[in-house]
Amino acid sequence: MFEWFSSGSSGAAGLDRMRAEFCQMLDAGRQVFDAATDAMLGKIDPEAIREQLFKTEKSINKSVRHLRREIVVHSTVHGPNTFPTCLVLMSVVKDAERIGDYGKNLFDLATTAPLVQDTEWRADIMQLKELISKLLSDCRDTFSTSDRDQALALISRAEKIEDRCDDQIQRLLTEEPPKAAAYVLAYRYLKRVASHVFNVLTSVVQPVDRIDFAKKLPIVRDDDPANSSGQ
């Protein structure tokens, strides 16, 4: 009886558990991304990683469903006070899932059109892979600590990666030879991964309704007068 009455009931335990599972999803997403891009760049044999990669990607999808169920239960039990946090989690689990999906798309590319020839493009993609992998890792840490300053810095890094991918896509679309399609797809997927990392990071600094939309809507800052007036 004593234990019952001393147990916490603020909902913090449930939220911590859900946030921890979400961070595990980001870790798994990074593993899929790293392995898939290495295979795409010809660094490792795709068949050697296929089973593990698909298993990890499956675990991400399982976590999405599990987290969504837990979010419903948590918000039902703890009531309206927890809705903002629950909505944030509901939104970002989708991004974590997409990171895994795009990792799988990169793996498909590795099996159909691996980028094994040493070219300027391949070198660029190798660089981008490192940048995005680091971004994913930093994103996970920033999400778990809710470090606002760090999130703003990472958002800036994510935006730069997205812009760089856009520029390269533009170049490839206008260049010959037309077999550049594989590169286009590679950049497309790399960009999407960076975009989803960006979305996760916006959850740290944006109100619920502006999550994912920092590009179209300015990031709300604490000292923003429009924010204080409820705009």
Partner: protein, 375 residues
């Protein structure tokens, strides 16, 4: 001060004392209610309850009273007190207790209407809510005639009580029971000192007791829900993870902890609506909530006598019998599930079904029952 902030400020010992204090006030209210009947005199009280001699009138009264107070704990505790005071026989109280079971399920059915604007959500929520109704209605349809024909529940409950489980006139008494009785007598003497006597004293005592029962159960329920929210969350997550009869145990445990089956079943509605909890997985939890809610009447009966304890055990046996009949046998288990699905589909296609269903089962039939059979 809201209970949410109270729990964060109160030390653990304070929380336990608060719970025990509320429980004490609740038991005092039961004793006071019994006392009010004694003060009113057996003739007055019996004439008030005479209409309930007919089991169908009793059933209807149980449904209607519970729909009105939105709590079977309040109505069953009141019945326990009346039986304990000797104003209502166990046999006459049985249909009322069964009716209370049916009446309490209206709360989550009303709650499911919050999803009415989204068809799929509403279909799932309404099916999840009405599966409780159908289970209770089917249980009454089977066990009320059986009880009227054989009296097996009253007999079994009497036998259980004769084992000496509790009750002041079973030879078992404790300081807490003595304190409850002394406090209730103190209140009665206090009211008498104000110049009240006879019928007026009985009426005021009855009102004070009823208000006390409603208020203490409200606070106990909210306090326990707030204190145990994290644990309840863990339990509900387990229901989602594990299939099978774990839901029955968790439904029972949650309801016993918060002293309200409506709280338990209402927590399930958003989960049904969102589609994260299937009707099959949620049904055992609903049945568990039915069994768990009998703890309140059993608690109330601890300050009454053998008869009070007997009706409290009948309440438990009725719900346990329903669970034993409907849960293990797949064919029978599917009946309430199919009924609720059928009604939910009909209500989703035409919302008038909701009004027809609620108006018929929870208002028209009970009212007609009282009017026709009370004569």
């Amino acid at each position: 001060m809201p209970i949410d902030s109270l729990k964060s400020r109160l030390p653990v010992v304070g929380r336990i004392l608060l719970f025990l204090g509320l429980l004490f006030i609740f038991l005092v209210a039961i004793e006071l209610l019994s006392g009010s009947m004694k003060v009113a005199g057996s003739d007055t009280a019996r004439s008030m309850l005479q209409g309930l001699n007919n089991p169908f009138a009793g059933l209807a009264a149980g449904i209607l009273a519970t729909v009105l107070v939105q709590s079977s704990s309040v109505s069953t505790s009141t019945v326990v007190a009346l039986v304990g005071a000797g104003q209502l026989s166990v046999a006459n109280a049985i249909p009322i207790v069964m009716g209370a079971n049916v009446g309490t399920s209206v709360t989550n059915t009303l709650l499911s209407l919050g999803h009415v604007t989204r068809s799929d959500e509403f279909r799932r929520a309404f099916a999840g809510a009405t599966v409780h109704d159908f289970f209770n209605l089917l249980a009454v349809a089977i066990f009320l005639p059986l009880e009227l024909a054989t009296g097996y529940m009253e007999y079994t409950a009497s036998w259980l009580v004769s084992l000496g489980l509790t009750g002041t006139d079973t030879g078992f008494s404790n300081p807490a029971t003595a304190a409850v009785k002394a406090t209730a007598e103190g209140i009665q003497h206090g009211l008498a000192a104000l110049g009240l006597s006879g019928g007026w004293l009985a009426t005021v005592m009855l009102l004070v007791a009823l208000i006390q029962i409603v208020c203490t159960l409200y606070f106990i329920t909210n306090l326990m829900k707030a204190l145990l929210a994290d644990r309840i969350e863990q339990w509900l997550n387990r229901v989602l993870e594990q299939k099978g009869m774990i839901g029955l145990v968790i439904g029972m445990a949650t309801t016993m902890a918060v002293q309200s089956s409506s709280i338990t079943t209402s927590l399930l509605i958003p989960m049904f609506a969102a589609g994260v909890l299937s009707l099959e997985a949620g049904f055992p939890m609903v049945v568990g909530a039915n069994i768990g809610t009998t703890i309140t009447a059993l608690l109330a009966a601890t300050v009454t006598n053998q008869a009070g304890m007997t009706i409290a055990f009948v309440h438990f046996l009725f719900n346990a019998s329903g669970a034993a009949l409907f849960l293990p046998i797949p064919f029978l288990r599917r009946i309430p599930l199919r009924c609720s699905r059928w009604l939910a589909n009909a209500a989703t296609q035409n919302r008038m079904w909701v009004l027809i269903y609620l108006g018929t089962v929870f208002v028209a039939i009970p009212l007609l029952g009282i009017l026709i059979w009370k004569r």
